[in-house]
């Protein structure tokens, strides 16, 4: 039998050797921390502190304003300096709580939140996850408690932990799997126990044999968890592709993973669930891979959310070049290019990728030669060249007719295009427009 996989996809240079052997080290911020009220999908959180208040590590500083929303907690102790719009990695200004770090890292008493697992009801566990402000930490930032509350709980039969880490250069999930596999397994057990019919799958790309070995050994004898090696191919870790690879069930863009009986959780999210339920710690830190050829030292850091990006980069010894060409928040395929380093690490920041050179910004697209590479690699099995044509002509009807909304913006089409067309960008722009029109 072939390895679990999907149709399409690409094999870019993965760059993981730069940081895969670097142990996770903790970095504690020295400067002020910035907490955007919107680090998740859904309504922005509402501040519950005011200027001059003293806060502790793990203290809730903003509260979810609705079901699809998430709490925000401080990662440092100090004083609330102000609440004002600040620049974020997505390139927009978002209302943020700024905390003046006193450098003491005085913690709340987390043990007060903890109860033995066997005394917890399912609703208690979900409440703890909600209270801890956990959101999908792979980048999308969908509130986890919402994901864990599907309409039909009995239909959920598979919990997939996404250890594919298919984005090139990223190693934070890998390090988590190697260093704290027990937290992943325990976190997964917590989620499995929320559902009557669920079993767990930990899906890992086969370019991470050490992680597969560690987790397979750890789950030996557990009949409700299997470790699946999936084929190393981008975007293996895309939610819909991962579900298909592991269960052969397909869902389209208008469906949720729950419609395929699945819930998919990122590695860091699972660890955050463990921290919240077992240790009573809310989400105030995450693993960030700082890598690329423009930094002096590649590293995997455990970072307090809210830490300034410039400060974090200085912590790895800064750049080895005066003027790096491009800094990306996230991976090279779907990450966002930054125009300022004066922005905070947020819940979805998986990496800071720093390149000495960049070819993409200067690429000049030429005519499509209809080679069909984009069609061959598209995991959504749409025709990117045709969608981009429709999008460029503003032909929304044709765009929708050709399933333009099934695009997951993974970037494969732009990656392979020999004419260097910005296919993903063009299609993504039209998708945004369509989604905005739907909301009206």
């Amino acid at each position: 039998m072939g390895l679990l996989s999907f149709v399409g996809g690409i094999h870019p240079y993965d760059g993981k050797e730069l940081s895969k052997d670097k142990k996770i080290t903790e970095y504690l911020p020295k400067g002020d921390c910035v907490y955007p009220l919107s680090q998740h999908i859904g309504a922005p959180a509402t501040p519950i502190v005011k200027k001059g208040d003293r806060v502790l590590v793990g203290q809730k500083i903003a509260e979810a304003s609705g079901f699809v929303s998430a709490n925000v907690h401080s990662g440092v102790s100090g004083t609330v300096k102000t609440i004002e719009p600040r620049m974020t990695v997505s390139g927009t200004k978002v209302n943020s709580i700024i905390i003046e770090n006193d450098g003491l890292f005085e913690e709340m008493d987390f043990s007060a939140n903890v109860k033995p697992l066997d005394q917890l009801y399912r609703e208690d566990v979900k409440d703890m996850i909600k209270e801890a402000g956990i959101v999908g930490m792979g980048g999308a930032g969908f509130p986890t408690h919402v994901k864990l509350s599907p309409k039909n709980e009995d239909a959920i039969d598979t919990i997939i932990v996404n250890g594919a880490e298919c984005e090139p250069y990223l190693t934070s999930d890998y390090r988590r799997m190697i260093e704290t596999p027990n937290k992943i397994v325990a976190g997964l057990q917590i989620v499995i126990n929320l559902f009557d019919n669920a079993k767990g799958i930990i899906a890992i790309e086969d370019n991470k044999p050490e992680a597969i070995k560690v987790l397979t050994e750890l789950t030996e004898g557990m009949d409700n968890i299997t470790v699946n090696a999936v084929k190393t191919k981008y975007p293996q870790g895309a939610e819909r592709q991962l579900i298909y690879a592991n269960t052969k069930r397909e869902i389209n863009s208008s469906m949720l993973p729950a419609d395929a009986g699945c819930i998919v959780q990122n590695i860091d999210t699972i660890v955050a669930i463990y921290n919240a339920v077992v240790e009573g710690r809310p989400l105030y830190e995450r693993i960030v891979t700082v890598t690329g050829d423009a930094v002096n030292e590649c590293a995997n850091y455990r970072v307090r959310i809210g830490t300034n990006i410039q400060e974090l980069i200085d912590a790895v010894g800064g750049f080895n070049i005066e003027d790096p060409a491009k800094i990306i928040s996230g991976g090279p395929m779907m990450g966002k290019a930054l125009f300022t380093l004066d922005a905070p690490i947020v819940k979805g920041s998986s990496a800071l990728l720093c390149f000495r050179e960049d070819v993409v910004a200067d690429l000049e697209p030429s005519n499509c030669i209809r080679c069909g590479r984009c069609v061959d690699v598209c995991p959504g099995r749409v025709m990117p060249n045709h969608l981009a044509d429709a999008a460029e002509h503003g032909d929304i009807d044709e765009f929708l007719k050709c399933d333009g909304m099934e695009c997951c913006e993974c970037g494969c089409c732009s990656y392979v295009c020999p004419a260097k067309r910005h296919l993903t960008q063009i299609i993504a722009g039209t998708r945004k427009q369509v989604l905005a029109n739907r909301k009206k």
Binding site: Y13, D157, N252, D323, D403, E406
Partner: protein, 311 residues
């Protein structure tokens, strides 16, 4: 710091690179053409390539557009055009052919990627229809002779081995099946062309020829089949002309349909048509059907029609 939309990395393959690799794949057959037909073949290559590049640059200059000759597509068109010409044509033929290929078929429709039929083949068919005598007079070793395919149609015996090796009469680049297959395999291995079109084309054509053999009293005639496969422009057409990106379907299923259709039409033209050759007409006819084929072979998007999972 530079800003651009994701993805931030790109594959190295570029249009120029692809065209270059196709040119490299044509070199064995092109060089054999010079060996087989002499210095005149080389001169024809130079004329068509120079004219194609010149017409492209000139037209783009005249119409105030970006000069795109660096993408090597005009060089490739020139090379293919020369390979589709008999070695003894007068020099105005390649010049006129280049003009038709680049200006009429390609540039008037919007340049690279916009032409509705293969420029080199369009030009060949234009010349073939307009100057039939010149375009169908072949000689070999300074003796005017018929092509093996014409001999085959006339019921004469042909030497399959020399057809496979290419030491026969024909257009400059089409005679050596061996060199063309080497080039075709190179393109498939390098991932430049998909095997679907040549495979579907050759398989369909072979099947029909064998069936025809059975019904026309030849029996299971393998040498008749081999002569048809090695003769005329079939190999050049299957690996280099039918696989032209711009004028072949982009959908995986469409490529198979396209190949099957080509095999069927080539069989019809060769066996029941007035002329011995049918590859060029089959390909440009199918080029015109590409939008239709694509329309009916759009891939099903991921998860389309998926139903909710119930436990």
């Amino acid at each position: 710091m530079k800003i651009s939309s994701s993805p931030h990395i790109r594959d190295k393959e570029s249009t120029t690179n692809i065209m270059g690799q196709v040119i490299v794949a044509l070199i064995p057959a092109a060089v054999f053409g010079v060996y087989n037909f002499g210095f005149k073949a080389l001169l024809l290559y130079l004329i068509t390539i120079a004219c194609c590049v010149g017409f492209e640059a000139g037209f783009e200059k005249l119409t105030n557009r970006k000069i795109t000759i660096k993408d090597l597509s005009a060089v490739l068109t020139g090379l293919l055009l020369a390979m589709n010409l008999p070695p003894d044509v007068p020099f105005w033929i390649p010049i006129l052919g280049s003009f038709f290929a680049i200006i009429v078929v390609k540039q008037l429709f919007g340049g690279l990627g916009q032409n509705f039929m293969n420029p080199a083949l369009g030009a060949r068919c234009f010349l073939l229809i307009s100057f039939t005598g010149t375009m169908t007079s072949f000689s070999y070793d300074a003796i005017t002779t018929a092509t093996p395919l014409a001999d085959l149609k006339a019921g004469k015996a042909v030497d399959v081995l020399s057809m496979f090796l290419g030491t026969t009469a024909g257009t400059i680049g089409e005679t050596c099946a061996l060199a063309l297959i080497i080039g075709g395999v190179f393109l498939i291995v390098r991932g430049i062309i998909s095997i679907r079109i040549p495979l579907a084309y050759i398989a369909t054509f072979s099947m029909l020829i064998l069936i025809y053999g059975l019904f026309s009293g030849r029996g299971f005639d393998v040498s008749f089949l081999l002569a048809h496969l090695c003769g005329g422009g079939l190999m050049l057409g299957a690996f280099f002309m039918a696989t032209d990106y711009v004028t072949s379907p982009i959908t995986p299923m469409g490529r198979i349909v396209f190949g099957v259709l080509l095999g069927f039409l080539t069989f019809l033209f060769r066996i029941f048509g007035g002329s011995a050759e049918g590859v060029s007409y089959a390909i440009i006819l199918c080029n015109l059907l590409v939008p239709l084929i694509e329309k009916f072979t759009v891939p099903t998007s991921f998860g389309k029609g998926a139903v909710k999972h119930e436990s």
